[in-house]
């Protein structure tokens, strides 16, 4: 029996055990949410559309247990994000999307059982696990990988790739302890060459061969490395929300070894194992909420040139932190500013800077009893002076129907994190709907 079949069998067995004695008291709630948008690129005036429909169901099994299933159908009208049929190499065999033609995909987003066993709350199945307190910056929120087919434009909830995993939460004195175990070896998903948001900036790609030889891509190393697991303690201490965590994991994005011999260059993607130790804090002071998180990574992988062993990459410790301030000084308005720094210690990476500094700013405001919502957000990389600006307006026509207008604009050098997508700046109009 394959690993995939064993996992599915185990999940179904657990489901049958829980459902069978409880049929008489079973309750279910079904919802469908969706979004359809028509986009126009600013530079070329190209039009394309996408439609996303997300049905979900929550079924009460026993009094304290439930089954939640969330699926998503996504149509990329212009087949621009992942042209053709993506190979899905970064996903484990039981976490792949079902591709219907080039433009439609069906994805089991989440499917998990949740309930109490004694004092512990268990969540078993495909799920999203979110750690950290920052907005759209990942220091501690690294349990699930992300899809970058639309770069940073979708919400993290939409771009996060749920993983088959087990999560247990239980009170320990005044604190809450949480352990996670993740057998699903699925990694971050990057669009292949030709995708609208294919990453072209140097720091996301292998070091170029010095000899100018056309490189050959070797099979990835350690793709089937160890399982991920972690422990998090959190609680309210003297008015502060505090958390501390440890996470042992395979990093979501591969690093590359560019190996050169006479007349040949071989690039090997390497999935690196690392340890993360982190902490987060938040508290409110009058109109202001302060949030901070800090992560120290041991043995972080770095792309490198290695003349002796094509399966190795460099490793170094690194520290990353984010400090954010939310200001609630005006009614119905939230202003947020965050500073994020990522610093590699004791090494000189070959394809990126030792230190990256980012600033984000966001303004959200609602009008007319939340009927109208406006939001503007900017992310900038201070070293490259490039910026991504997103704005969204929504008007609620009815409980489950809203008109949305969005724009995303990229500024800066084409080799910068945001500037590389200048040609993808766009304006969009659409509908958000539910049933």
């Amino acid at each position: 029996m394959s690993q995939r079949h064993a996992a599915i069998l185990a999940f179904l067995s657990a489901l049958i055990v829980l459902v069978e004695p409880a049929q008489a008291q079973m309750e279910a709630a079904f919802d469908v949410d969706g979004k359809s948008r028509l986009h126009a690129t600013v530079t070329d005036g190209d039009f394309y559309y996408d439609i996303s429909v997300e049905p979900s169901a929550t079924i009460q099994l026993l009094s304290d247990w439930s089954l939640t299933v969330i699926a998503r159908a996504f149509a990329d009208g212009g087949d621009r994000l992942e042209p053709g049929r993506p190979r899905q190499n970064s996903r484990s065999s039981f976490n792949r999307r079902l591709l219907v033609g080039d433009q439609l995909e069906l994805d089991l987003r989440e499917a998990y059982l949740a309930g109490y066993v004694g004092p512990a709350f268990l969540t078993i199945g495909k799920q999203q696990i979110v750690w950290g307190k920052a907005d759209r910056i990942r220091v501690l929120d690294i349990v699930n990988p992300h899809s970058f087919r639309e770069f940073f434009l979708p919400s993290f909830e939409q771009s996060r790739i749920p993983l088959w995993s087990v999560r247990a939460e239980a009170p320990v004195g005044p604190l809450q302890a949480e352990t996670v175990f993740i057998p699903d070896r699925t990694y971050a998903e990057f669009p292949e060459a030709g995708g609208a948001f294919a990453l072209t900036a140097a720091q996301f790609n292998p070091p170029e061969p010095l000899t100018g030889q056309p490189p050959t891509l070797a099979p990835a190393v350690n793709r089937r490395g160890g399982f991920d697991y972690g422990l998090r303690l959190s609680g309210l201490v003297a008015g502060w929300d505090v958390a501390a965590l440890y996470f042992r994991h395979t990093e979501d994005a591969p690093q590359f070894n560019t190996f050169e011999t006479e007349g040949q260059a071989i690039i090997t993607p390497v999935f690196n194992r690392a340890h993360l130790v982190g902490a987060s804090f938040s508290n409110a002071f009058g109109d202001i909420t302060l949030r901070a998180e800090l992560g120290y990574t041991f043995d972080r992988g770095l792309s490198s040139r290695n003349a002796t062993n094509p399966s190795l990459i460099d490793q170094a410790d690194s520290i990353a932190y984010v400090v954010g301030v939310d200001w609630y000084g005006i009614d119905d308005t939230l202003v947020t500013v965050q500073f994020f720094q990522d610093r590699i210690l004791d090494a000189a990476p070959s394809n990126r800077r030792k230190v990256d500094n980012f600033v984000t700013a966001a303004l959200n405001r609602s009008f007319e009893n939340d009927t109208i919502r406006l939001g503007v957000r900017a992310l900038t990389n201070l070293a490259d002076d490039d910026v991504m600006v997103q704005a969204e307006g929504g008007y609620e026509l009815a409980d489950n129907l809203a008109i949305i207008v969005e724009t995303a604009v990229f500024f800066g050098d084409r080799n910068g994190v945001f500037g590389q997508f200048k040609q993808e700046s766009r304006i969009s109009i659409g509908l958000r709907f539910g049933l």
Binding site: D31, D135, E169, A284, G286, D332, E396, L435
Partner: protein, 267 residues
């Protein structure tokens, strides 16, 4: 303090004059009696919010609300169950009875999949798009004894009900700005010690809004308003809270009132 207020109330009732005589209660004592009214140590209820704009367009939020008192801390969790776009949104508050300590508040947004600590200082901000402010929600349409000076302004009799109009003026200008209220007049039923109607003026003393409590019944021995309507006199927008499945008797699981449990929300 609560015991003192109850004793005071009892003494008023014991020495109540014969029918037709006037009872002289100060505005402050009336407000204290309303504040001390038993509203249960814990409650679990469904709250339907209907938001109607001046053109008549109505939006509806189906929520579940649980509240429990832990000594000087009152903990409340509200989860939106529909519409689907807002489903799972949860709001948790730890309301400290010590007036000098800010409340702790968190908001869980399913679109972010994480809870967010939010400021509790903006008490005059409107709650989830309704016409009720965070302060109205926290005080459950009572008037804080710390924030207002009270005065008795009128007496009215409707059928068997002996009613009093009291006036509440903010104790300071900063309190007025914080709450967004320059004056409140409230009609109290002295047989239940429940406000029946509250009329609000803004800081510039322009008419602001009016709250009406109705469908008042005893549930599990506790006097409860099952419908609360708030009309914003400036915008014409109204919010109606309809409480159903009210349960003061069944125990409430303490595990619900944690930040971690917000993610899971209430079914």
């Amino acid at each position: 303090m609560r015991i003192l207020i109850v004793l005071l109330t009892l003494s008023v009732q014991l020495f109540s004059p014969a029918k037709g005589e006037t009872i002289t209660l100060s505005g402050r004592v009336i407000a204290e009696n309303v504040y001390a009214r038993d509203d249960g140590e814990h409650v679990d209820q469904t709250l339907i919010m209907e938001l109607t704009d001046k053109s008549g367009k109505t939006r509806r939020r189906d929520t579940r609300l649980v509240r429990k008192e832990y000594g000087d801390v009152h903990k409340t969790l509200i989860t939106i169950r529909s519409p689907s776009a807002l489903k799972g949104t949860s709001f948790l508050t730890f309301d400290y009875q010590n007036a000098t300590r800010d409340d702790d508040q968190w908001l869980y947004l399913p679109a972010m999949r994480r809870e967010r600590r939010i400021s509790a200082s903006d008490r005059g901000a409107y709650f989830l798009g309704t016409d009720f402010t965070y302060e109205d929600m926290k005080e459950r349409t009572r008037l804080s004894l710390h924030d207002f000076e009270f005065a008795l302004i009128d007496r009215a009799v409707e059928g068997a009900s002996d009613l009093r109009w009291i006036e509440a003026l903010p104790k300071s200008e900063s309190t007025a700005h914080e709450l967004g209220y320059g004056k409140i007049e409230a009609l109290v039923d002295t047989s239940t010690w429940m406000y029946q109607r509250l009329v609000y003026w803004d800081v510039a003393l322009n008419p602001l809004k009016e709250i009406t409590l109705s469908d008042i019944a005893k549930i599990d021995g506790i006097v409860t308003a099952q419908t609360i309507r708030c009309e914003n006199l400036k915008t014409g927008h109204t919010t109606t809270f309809q409480f159903t499945d009210i349960d003061y008797a069944s125990p409430i699981d303490d595990r619900l009132f944690t930040v971690a449990a917000m993610r899971r929300g209430l079914r």
